[in-house]
């Protein structure tokens, strides 16, 4: 059996001494898996994604990617780094941080160029990605002058052009209008069918059924509260309440979490399932 895409053993991370952002996280991500990282604000989802992307080195524990140990030292080896960066792409939560080139075309070309793809291939990928995301009209515009949704698309394009096997997303659907959200979900579905591994951090529990088939929940203590198939994880209402992920008025209907608005005018009896 092929080595897992990521294997983490007791991984911890501290931004400041004594303030853990992640604590003893163990996790396996298999090829082709769609994993959702869930947790309340500040539970460490983004930090975990940064560690998976090889952008932060864990303060403790072991991490292996594609069967090889991943460390800051290994990533200093340019050959190893090039292979790793080609295989793992990350779309950041803040598109502004991700868009730094003078125009959209250069932004999309940045990854393939720096990962030393042949120039003809770079040009082809830039064109194809512009087409795929409908960005042709924006090709010569400066990314920092685009709207929020357009920036997100360009950020996505800049990563897709690398054609990574593993796609890491931090809040992919945030700030997108419903139509673009739907479009993105369908695109991720197609990429999954093509065998890509997808790991995403999100708060949108209602979209999860279409985005992931397994879920990992980080508790407010920055440890793994649960990891398993999506349906099982979401069915555990007590746990979701305990990690402050849902509101006490949230319900599970046919596998999807719903919450209803409650008008608290006067006293009323209300039962939760």
């Amino acid at each position: 059996m092929a080595a897992p895409v990521f294997a983490l053993q007791g991984v911890s991370y501290q931004y400041k001494a004594g303030v853990p952002a992640l604590d003893a996280v163990s996790l396996n991500v298999e090829a082709g898996q769609r994993l959702a990282l869930l947790g309340a604000n500040g539970s460490g989802k983004s930090t975990l994604l940064m560690i998976l992307a090889g952008l932060l080195a864990p303060s403790g524990g072991e991490i292996a990617a594609f069967g090889e140990p991943l460390s800051a030292e290994r990533l200093r080896d340019e050959r190893f780094a090039r292979v790793f960066r080609r295989r793992v792409g990350i779309v950041f939560q803040s598109s502004d941080a991700q868009l730094f080139s003078p125009n959209v075309r250069d932004e999309i070309a940045f990854g393939p160029l720096h990962l030393e793809l042949p120039e003809a291939e770079v040009l082809r990928r830039v064109e194809d990605t512009l087409n795929l995301l409908g960005l042709h009209e924006l090709a010569e515009r400066a990314p920092y002058n685009l709207s929020g949704g357009e920036k997100k698309k360009v950020a996505l394009a800049s990563v897709l052009a690398i054609n990574p096997d593993v796609l890491l997303f931090d809040e992919p659907t945030n700030g997108l209008d419903p139509r673009t959200q739907r479009w993105l979900i369908e695109l991720l579905g197609r990429l999954h069918e093509a065998g890509k591994t997808i790991v995403l951090a999100t708060h949108h529990l209602d979209l999860l059924g279409e985005l992931a088939d397994s879920a990992l929940i980080l508790g407010e203590d920055h440890r793994v509260a649960v990891c398993g198939p999506l349906g099982e994880v979401l069915a555990n209402r007590d746990l979701l309440l305990r990690v402050n992920l849902i509101h006490e008025h949230a319900h599970l209907h046919g596998g999807a979490l719903h919450s209803h608005e409650h008008a608290h005018q006067g006293e009323h009896e209300h039962e939760h399932e």
Binding site: L55, A97, F110, H114, Y144, D206, N244, I246
Partner: protein
Amino acid sequence: MPSESGNNTPSPLTAPAAGSDVPVWLLCPQAATPAGSLSSKRGSPFLEKTLGGLAHLVAAAFDADAASAKDGLLQRLDARVKVVSLLGFVVAAVLAHRLTTLAAFVVLAVALALASRISLRHFVLRAWTFVPLFTAVIALPAITSWVSPGHSVLTVWPAQHLAITTSGLLTAAHLILRVTAAVSFAVLLTLCTRWNDLLRALRVVRVPQMFVFVLAMTYRYIHLLVRLLSQMLLARKSRSVGPASAAENRRFLGASAGALFGKSQVLSEQVYAAMLSRGYTGEVHTLEHWRLGWLDLAWIGGCLAGLAVLVSLALIPGVGF
């Protein structure tokens, strides 16, 4: 995420702290008539001015981007050729002694701007407003007989023998023309070259990598920081009525400078991470083809011919350029 009413729209809420009831005053409607006396005070001029300044900065960047994308003479030249030749023009203008040569350089700069489809107004505003005017102020004492004795043109203060002299006017004209020509060529270079090409060309002419990198990052951040700052100012504007006191403005400026510094640090770390994740290892690559075309060759030929004329003039004793 707000919950949508009535239609069972799936939208799980993140739990607020238990027992946090909405205070009663928050549920009361706001009175439509002003509570106090009506005043004709406008919004804070400090805010308006700063917001206006920021908007102007963004507009200037738009203009520069638009100018470098035009299909003009200088835009078509290879960035390396442009950097070397225009910097050469700057050096030549600084070394020139004859008024006619200096004037010819200024005319050349204007001709190049026109050939590069830059509007004259835009060019004059960018190149000739600040630096040459500032130089003119500095050169002001030099036109008088106190600094440059000589034939007097206009007597200003007879008792002190203060007059404007021809030699003084000539000295000032030299200084101002020299600065104008040098600044014009520098502005032409930045206006007609895409930022990334300029950076790459600077690498080609051996400007240190770290210097180029810092320049690149600075430019990338300016836009984001300007947006952050204008959002902070707008947020304040939305919550304030009438002009604020100077002390309040100072406090606000201090606080926003601190907040901006913090934000920019976080952002810089994220940008660097984003660059690393897409294969950045310290060397910048761009899509451009660096191939010299016939236009570049013709340009190089023209520049060399000009250089030959200047050198031969310099070599003739008593002539110079």
